[in-house]
């Protein structure tokens, strides 16, 4: 027990890194995903195709490769080449990757809204933008909560991939202690940390679902 207390500080620090990556990724990838979803449903075929290709690329290759690419290879790419420090590089990779997943969720959500809602709004004089903002998206949120919740819970565990850029997230911190002290109990503590975070997220989403349950469809 003393030992557990002893290893808590680095694990808590690692949790801090995990949560930072998690929160920043979420805050940036959700709006980006929404924008991508709207572009994916655009009337302009080349835009649709480009976004489709982007999503395919991002979902088709491992996030770890994307992260290594942005960190190591991007500096040598002409024009867009930029040398990012490790944390920003990780964030960029996570955001680009998760935005693709969120884009697909949003697209499906938007397409699930019946045509009648668009027509009802149109005959009342609402423009397309107004219809989206006031009528469609508020309903989309309710419908996509379950897949968004899934994706979010996956993200909290995926953050551990930043080990390839040698950042000390929770899981890597635990591995570090395991290697220093040659005992596996830090893993058990880390697992408990993950479970707690998942639990908090699950409750948060349940709360949201309840909030949106005031109306049925």
């Amino acid at each position: 027990m003393d030992y557990v207390l002893n290893i808590l500080p680095p694990l808590i620090e690692g949790t801090g890194v995990t949560l930072q990556v998690f929160v920043i990724t979420l805050m940036l990838s959700v709006p980006l995903g929404l924008a991508l979803a709207l572009l994916r449903l655009s009337r302009i075929a080349p835009v649709r195709a480009a976004v489709g290709g982007y999503i395919w690329l991002m979902r088709g290759t491992p996030l770890m490769l994307q992260m290594l690419f942005i960190y190591f290879a991007l500096p040598f790419v002409p024009v867009i080449g930029v040398r990012l420090p490790d944390f920003p590089a990780a964030i960029v990779a996570f955001v680009l990757n998760y935005a693709a997943y969120f884009a697909e969720i949003f697209r499906a959500g938007i397409q699930s809204i019946e045509r009648g809602q668009y027509e009802g709004a149109k005959v009342l004089g609402l423009s397309y933008a107004q219809t989206m903002r006031r009528i469609v998206l508020p309903q989309v949120i309710k419908r996509i909560l379950p897949p968004v919740s899934n994706e979010t819970i996956t993200l909290i565990k995926d953050t551990s991939l930043i080990y390839v850029l040698a950042m000390n997230d929770l899981l890597r911190a635990a591995r570090g202690i395991v290697q220093r002290d040659f005992t596996t109990s830090p893993f058990v503590v880390a697992a408990a940390f993950y479970l707690i975070m998942t639990l908090v997220l699950t409750y948060g989403f349940q709360h949201l679902e309840k909030k949106y349950a005031v109306y049925d469809e």
Binding site: G116, E119, K122, V123
Partner: protein, 264 residues
């Protein structure tokens, strides 16, 4: 722009004028030249078998569908016109929105916004489209709810209402935008027989207040008693268009007669 088709317009500008509308979905021609003129305060009932193009006609009038030929004018303003060369031209988007703003529409399946309460359904468009302030529109919305007999449902969500109540909210929502013409597409056919009555009663009251209405309906009793004219459509054409009592008493066309026999 104002390219007129051949016929001369009657003296008072009609509320709505549709001339020779043609509409094709892919290979199927659904409207094969439908014309209609509606005067202020008229109630037009459109009847006809399934697939005859009744809904499509209404949807073209309010720009939910675009026609491929023909002309539509609302209160003298041209929405779409076709020149002698057969080229069909709609006016600019902003103008379309203004012109269609004179019309409201009530759908078979209500199309209420499920995430908004009854009151919010009514005030959404006046606030978003007309930019009015909430405190200005709420009293009017409440008055409309009282009018359709749903004052107590103000804060309920649509899912908590019966079909008849939903449809009355839909009517009130359309009225909240103060349209000059109301279009109805089978407003009672998704309702239980018992709930139909309350919606028809509301529509009858609107007719009594001289609201201009075009109603696609299966309710022959309503068409007979409330409509000033009844249009019988079949196969994308107007087969017969006459004052209600006349048409029901002595249908001229054999197709009309066959249809009416089947319905009653």
């Amino acid at each position: 722009m104002q390219s007129m088709t051949n016929e001369a317009t009657p003296a008072p500008t009609p509320m709505l004028r549709a001339v020779d509308l043609h509409k094709r979905f892919g290979a199927i021609e659904v409207l094969k030249g439908v014309s209609l003129e509606v005067g202020r305060g008229e109630v037009i009932a459109i009847i006809g078998p399934s697939g005859s193009g009744k809904s499509t006609f209404l949807r073209c009038l309010i720009h939910l569908e675009t026609v491929q030929r023909g002309c539509i004018e609302v209160e003298g303003r041209t929405l779409v016109s076709t020149d002698t060369g057969g080229e069909c031209r709609y006016v600019a988007d902003a103008e379309i929105r203004t012109i269609c703003g004179a019309m409201g529409m009530v759908f078979q399946h209500f199309n209420l916004f499920p995430h908004l309460t009854v009151l919010e359904n009514l005030i959404e468009a006046p606030m978003t489209v007309k930019g009015l302030r909430r405190e200005d529109v709420v009293p009017k919305a409440e008055a409309l709810l009282a009018k359709v007999g749903l004052a107590d449902k103000r804060d309920a969500y649509p899912s908590r209402l019966s079909g008849g109540q939903k449809q009355r909210v839909a009517i009130a929502r359309a009225l909240a935008m103060e349209p000059d013409i109301l279009l109805f597409d089978e407003p009672t056919s998704a309702l239980d027989p018992e709930l139909t009555g309350e919606v028809l009663r509301t529509m009858r009251e609107l007719a009594d207040e001289h609201m201009t209405m075009i109603v696609v309906t299966h309710e022959m009793a309503f068409a007979r008693e409330v409509a000033s004219r009844v249009i019988f459509m079949d196969g994308g054409l107007v087969v017969e268009a006459r004052p209600a009592r006349e048409l029901f008493a002595s249908p001229e066309h054999p197709r009309t007669r066959a249809f009416l026999e089947n319905m009653l």
